[in-house]
Amino acid sequence: MSLLDRYVKEVGSHLPPKQRTDIEAEIKSSLQDILQEKSARTGVTVDETLMLAVLKEYGKPEKVAASYLPPRYLIGPELFPIFWLVLKIGLGIVAAIAVLVFAARTAVGDIQSWAEVGANISGLFNGAIATLGWVVVTFIILERFLPLQKLKGKERDWDPAELLKKPDTELIPLSTPIVAILFTLAALILFNIFPDFVAIKAVKTLTDNEWVTLITLTDAFYAQIPWLNVLWLLSLGFHGATIWQRRWQPWTRAAQIGLHVFSIVILIRLITGADIIYFDPAALEYLNAGGAPLDNIGAISNIGLRAALGIAVVVSLFEIGKNGYKMVNQQ
């Protein structure tokens, strides 16, 4: 096989089989024309030296083959904005889960050395890489099989008037911080000034209006009150600042993330600590006179309460992810 044929085959090896023969023939013909022209112009016969010079000028086989192919993307320009959005959400969720795990382990005293802190950071890094990998692979598959012409059709249907209907997501409605401030103040007053009011009571006898206390909060809960007070005071400052700002700023979003992380730590301390509600057995006995035994009602209620606090952790985590995503987008 001559040098010319070797070159042509090498170019062909980088081309799709359907077009290969035709393009190979065209390149060979073109090279023969160049060789003939150069030979006629210089008076040198076509030999290996001339061929080498011509092929060098013609270009690297991969590059020549690439010029016949349409631009190839792993993720093309039509899908890239959606890919970027999904990647940011995915990485946000991974970061939020890592923060939760770290906060939970810190709250229960499971993190006791810098090596364990390093292991958590390494876990976050591995999770981020895995997320990146899955999102990229998913979008490569979509790029290959999704009818992208339909997306282009939708672009043509786009109406700029729709922008006017879109709500301003950066605006903070005044009602949100005002309601939050009222509830926070109520919690501060109730748990610090009137802690005795935080109980469920029932009337024992209607004649002398005697009351019996059924459920109260335990010392394990009140041990967290100093931390809750700090959280509530910080929340008051934060909501005051949002009334003043009226629009979300990167720093207000960062502050809200900080408050959510702080609340997660307190929630985890409550979940993992001792029981936080107490059922008075004598009162229960009185109310249940003649009924089925209520031995486990205290334990079951505490499990239920822990589950509710767990849901609050998940909600906070979601808020961290949402604010983190919006903060990155805003910047």
Partner: protein, 111 residues
């Protein structure tokens, strides 16, 4: 990238815009690829093979060119010529080109 380099890198893009019209205009009579390349070069438009041959194939797939293989001298050559659709395209593109030249002349003369 320096400002000079940025201008240099923009020049090929400026030329690329005229290549299709230049190629179609030169293929009103039948030519093979290398002869067309020489023709364009003689008239001042330098294009490398890596640009010309894929472009010829693209124009053919769009129906603006027709091609046929023929054995000339000692080896086969593919000859290209504009199709009827290609001729119509040349008329349209010529009119667009004249409009662009007129517009740019006005802009560059500061009118």
């Amino acid at each position: 990238m320096t400002p000079d380099e940025q201008i240099e890198s923009g020049l090929p893009a400026l030329r690329r815009g005229v290549i299709v019209l230049a190629v179609l205009s030169q293929l009103q009579t039948e030519k093979y690829g290398y002869a067309l390349l020489k023709d364009l070069s003689d008239k001042g438009l330098e294009i490398d093979q890596g640009t010309l041959y894929p472009l010829l194939r693209r124009l053919e797939s769009q129906g603006l060119l027709q091609s046929s293989w023929r054995v000339d001298a000692d080896h086969p050559r593919r000859y290209y010529v504009v199709s009827d659709a290609g001729r119509k395209a040349i008329v349209q593109m010529q009119s667009e080109w004249r409009g662009i030249v007129e517009m740019m002349s006005r802009m560059l003369s500061g009118e």
